[in-house]
Amino acid sequence: MSAKRSVRGSLANYLLALIAIFSLNFVLPRMMPGDPLQAIYGQEALVAMTPQMEAALIQKFSLDQPWSSQLYAYISGLFEGDLGYSYYFRDQVSAVILGALPWTLILTGSALILATSLGIVLGMESGYRRGGSLDRGLIAGLIFISGFPDFFVGIVLLLIFGVSLGIAPLYGSITPYSGETGLAYLLDILHHLALPLASLVLVQLGAVYLLTRNTMVVVLKERFVLTARAKGCTDRAVRYRHAGRNSLLPVITATGIRLPQLITGALFIEIVFSYPGVGLLLSTALDARDYPLIQGILLLVTVAVLTANCGVDLLYRRLDPRVRHAR
């Protein structure tokens, strides 16, 4: 009963946050001094606009109508997936973003999964062998690497593997005009993904690893570990099922907190590797002052972070019965 209520409670929290973001997106341009159309579309777009287009836009946003009609127009626009028109790309913002999104999803998604799972496994093993050579080596190495900013690691990797060794492509997500299909196409994607992914993972890994390792060291001292060993559990069972599963909990929480950081990291990495994802798109939009596109991307990123956090919350609930069955 109470558990369900608290799930509903936290879902409501996420919904509220979402509404707040959309409201801000609606209110801010309209509160700016001067022409709201200028605030929404920016100076340059306005100059390039014909009077007909301007009239059409005013009509579209109901800018000549009272606030309530404007709100209605805004909401119905959102539901149709209408985020506005990108002047730079001469296309709907949603279409432009959708074109870049898969690459970013592949990059950040696999970076998140790889960094987290690798960090957890390394952290558990290292914490279990506390003070051993594996433990000491990993601590030193990963702390060293995670001290650098993402783009720096990216540049170094690019210089070594791309420029000097020439075994990795220098830019892009696929080889243009190669026309490959099937497995060859997939390998080509992976080939292009390798370096940006590696730089993201390398930098993200340290935090997950350290947190898991330190939690593991603490959890191993708890009495239930002795209980588990006393019933004859194998080393593996003690490490993963007992100590490991309990060490996971703070790591999951931290993952939620780490997400925005991962996304900003990806943004820079995409720029370094000219990887055609949302990050590169944002940089282009910033250069071109394509306001609707910038706004659309920021909106998407916020929604993504919120959704991911919500997912982490639900996962935590599954893993920790103390939250699930809170007394």
Binding site: R223, A228, A230, G232
Partner: protein
Amino acid sequence: MVTPGAAMLEIRDLVVSYHGSRVLSDVNLRLEYGDSMAIIGESGAGKTTLGLAIMGFSEGTTSGQICWQGRDLLRLPEEDMRSLRGKVVAMVFQNVEDALNPVLNIHDQVKEAMTVHRNGPGHAASARAFGLLEAVGLDHERAKSFPHQLSGGERQRALIAMALANDPDILILDEPTASLDSVTKGDVIEILRAAASDKISLVITHDISTAASLSKKMAVLYAGTIVEMGRTEDLLKNPRHPYTRGLIRSYPNMTTTKDLQGIPGRMDREADGCPFHRRCTQRTDICSRLPPSMQETNGRLIACHRGGIVPLLKLRGITKSFGQREVLSNVSLTVLEGETLAVVGESGCGKTTLARITIGLCDPDRGDVLFEDETLRVRGLEFYRKVQMIYQNPAESLSHRMSVLDLVREPLDVQRLGGRQEREASVRKALDDVELPSDDRFLARYPHQLSGGEAQRVAIARAMVLQPKLLIADEPTSALDASIQAKILRLLQNLQEKRGLSMLFITHDLALARKVSDRIAVLHRGMLVEEGPASQVVSSPAHPYTRCLLEQAARLDATIGSPGVESSAGRGAAAQDRDRWIGAAAVNR
């Protein structure tokens, strides 16, 4: 199953040390099927280390052997030891907050105990886990709960079910009833008793009552060494090692009636010789030099150079008549070092005569008085330095012509102990000990300026200034009112605790005797009708006369403070006799 006797757990010369300091030294134990042994001792004595060593969890360096079916568990490769854990040797842990994995439900945790040993198919293990939990009183719904949803008692039950999962041969119970309320504790003990009956069980606890109800044998661990071992019942009723007695005395329970006493000092692992010697009140030179070896007498093992608590005073076949009337007939008693023996009886039963014979105020017609194993014929200065007496009425033992200083110093003067200043320092110390002021103003007072309680304290200080080994107290509080009586009794017990003083406590009041004594002897018409541990005499008196005294005591309790009705010869004679027993030399003065 294995035939009884064929399989046994034998621990030989087990030594465990961490960072060079010994946590366990030379532990030897032999346990067969059906044996249940309790290991008792203070925290830090090494009890848990012993349990963990048997489980193969020793972290320090170990030597010696833990043998099970011809295999030395200490030398077993980890993988072999792991396969024994939980299957052959299992441990019930204390129900501390984190003893169970917080993210797994308890059914799964119990089930795991079986699946890790591939003990049958998964669904069978699951069913058995539910069965086990049911047997310890956790229904299906509780079984599906997570540890944080359970009470301490329920967690303890779950831990028991887990340990029993593979029907192990050796069951180690580590403080199995700690932090449980008394009803739950009773339930848990019942469950454990039933579970352990066909196994070898080892209960590790500081809780003597739990140990008593779960074991047939008992070993007392002190600073990593077993100091006494024997049958549980005997050992608790008649502890023979000074430490065991102290441990039992300091434990509150329903069967000892004496007020609680602690053991002075702290445990010291690094001590040479007998580990207990710094706290022992009967130590001799050898105790600090050589560790005592384990000696067996009548099925009791004791590690003590002096064979356990030594008898200080023995009365053998004392018979005494005044004219035609036989006051004492064939009375034999023993007072052990550091204990209080109460001699209880109504007036005229001969108890005061017994005290007078002991101190040497009159001679028995027949029988011997032995002090420190020597028959006393003439009592010299030496004797009076070790044996002192206090009377019912302090006014009679304190000369009204002497100041407090003179009164307390007199025994020192007679014994010619120390110089003038040392004597005065001893006087002040003695007054401090009896919780009286020791300033010059008080020292200059005379007995008539003192209250009854103060006067009795001065009398006690006077007796204690020589640091005697035995104090004979003849109705020491019956002339005082109830609250002062309580304080004086408390004081005497403190002195006993601090000094290991033995006391022969003469009283008509069984209720009082019960509170201050370890053992009680009941005298009736000059005959010893009953003798035993205070709790036993009071709770199940064997002689009708004792029962009669008990009824009186209950009534007397209500009107406590009414002065005693003792009309012994001692009362009037006390003042005259005083100088005589202070020392033979005094007679010549």
